[in-house]
């Protein structure tokens, strides 16, 4: 019995594998060796920041079209130069020009929570049921964005999201993951440090004060600094990144902000 079973299975397996082997020879698909080379040097994160569905799709498109499109963001200039060397074109390179910032800068002690949230520990669930945070705009701090970041640029410190700007590749996955749309792609200019308004609450000052001590109360002080790039819309301060120059009084506005909800970071990547 055992012998017949072994023989049957063995023969069947052999016949099937033989057929497959023959077929795979007959139906071999010629792959462009350059594409394989490109795949090899790509980081393999499959982050999709290039606009293709993954590293493989990107490599195939690069070889097919003979141009590198926007290039590989995580790879940076150096890698893009390598890729263009493989396909034999001189790439017009753009250095990384954007990073993502989180528009909620409140820490655990600053956010008010009136209820004891017992639901699923994900932002998406907490957004639907409510109750995890009094502020309807702020960070729920369950870290949905942490899970999707392909380069682990995000971390959660004291219930506040911290972005490691040197790691961020601006792929935008966190923007989709955050149910409260807190992430924003901002340009970082070569002349200024990075500044951003770390509040997303569009309620009036009184309501903001009730739920968070860090929130923007639309006092307009930042906008009143002379030649200020800040402006108030929907009871919330925004920074107009198109207006930045080396003389822009970014720091002056930041120090004057009464709730300290304007954040800054040293020029990322030190360029």
């Amino acid at each position: 019995m055992i012998t017949t079973a072994i023989i049957t299975l063995g023969v069947a397996g052999f016949i099937f594998s033989l057929t497959l082997a023959l077929l795979s020879k007959r139906l071999k698909v010629e792959e462009d060796p350059r594409a394989l080379k490109v795949i090899e040097i790509l980081p393999g994160l499959n982050c999709g920041a290039c606009g293709f569905s993954g590293c493989r799709a990107f490599a195939e498109a690069v070889v097919r079209e003979g141009q590198i499109f926007n290039g590989c963001l995580p790879g940076g200039d150096e890698l893009n130069q390598q890729i263009s060397a493989v396909i034999g074109v001189t790439a017009c390179l753009q250095s990384k020009s954007q990073v993502v910032v989180c528009r909620c800068g409140a820490e655990a002690s600053e956010k008010k929570v009136a209820t004891d949230y017992q639901g699923l520990l994900t932002c998406r669930a907490a957004q639907i049921t409510g109750g995890a945070l009094d502020c309807l705009y702020g960070c729920l701090a369950f870290g949905d964005c942490l899970k999707v970041c392909p380069v682990s640029a995000l971390s959660l410190e004291n219930k506040k999201i911290r972005v490691d700007f040197s790691k961020c590749i601006a792929c935008g996955k966190c923007i989709q993951a955050c149910p409260r749309n807190l992430f924003e792609l901002v340009p970082w200019s070569k002349v200024n440090d990075l500044y951003w308004v770390a509040c997303n609450n569009t309620e009036k000052a009184l309501k903001v004060k009730k739920v968070c001590s860090r929130g923007c109360i639309s006092c307009t002080i930042c906008a009143k600094v002379s030649e200020s790039p800040y402006y108030i819309k929907n009871n919330l301060s925004y920074l107009d990144y198109t207006k930045l120059s080396s003389e822009t009084p970014l720091e002056a506005a930041k120090t004057k902000c009464p709730t300290k909800c304007i954040f800054s970071a040293k020029n990322p990547k030190g360029a």
Partner: protein, 194 residues
């Protein structure tokens, strides 16, 4: 002949693999986003299912029954299905790279599509003859394609529809699938009324 027609109609509509037995739900939800890929997937599954049931029938009756090795049926059936899927994958990759891209991971996943193994096992437990098995496999695959196509059509329309945010995406898809299953339940009265 009537027997074959009965098997065909009942597998296609009444005992539909997806909406009545709830087999093969993974590709049903995964590939029903676009009509083109749904058609491709349906054809691939139909092809694999027809061949899998016929080859499985031959192996089962000519070898397994003869040598009293019925306990091997699961292994052998899986072997047949896996090889067939590999074959289909090679063919699709060679002759339609667009479809290959569109189907993506769901193509190799036909291997673990329980509808196909289900078809092979049903064919054994129902004691179908060879011809009946072929018709059974073919109509099962066709039923799968039909449901996939209907679902893809509905989902493409729903893309543009203005639905509440809570329902957008997966929840609405699952509700649609449930309603479709309810509708297909209506076919169960088909034969008594004739």
């Amino acid at each position: 002949m009537t027997e074959l027609l009965l098997i065909f109609i009942s597998t296609l509509l009444i005992n539909n693999f997806v909406l009545s037995y709830f087999l093969g739900i993974c590709p049903f939800l995964g590939v029903s986003g676009k009509i083109e890929s749904a058609i491709g997937m349906g054809l691939a599954v139909t092809f694999v299912m027809t061949l899998a049931t016929s080859i499985s029938w031959l192996i089962y009756h000519l070898i397994l029954v003869k040598f009293n090795l019925l306990f091997l049926q699961y292994v052998i059936f899986i072997l047949v299905i896996a090889s067939l899927v590999q074959m289909v994958e090679m063919f699709i990759r060679k002759f339609s790279s667009g479809l290959y891209q569109a189907l993506g991971i769901y193509l190799p996943l036909i291997t673990t599509n329980c509808a196909i193994l289900g078809a092979a096992l049903f064919m054994v437990s129902r004691n179908y003859s060879f011809l009946e098995s072929v018709v059974f496999g073919f109509s099962g695959g066709l039923g799968f394609s039909l449901v996939l196509l209907v679902m893809a059509g509905i989902r493409q329309e729903l893309e543009d529809a203005d639905v509440p945010r809570v329902f957008k995406g997966v929840p609405l898809t699952l509700i649609t699938a449930g309603l479709l299953a309810l509708i297909f339940m209506g076919f169960s009265g088909l034969f008594s009324s004739i």
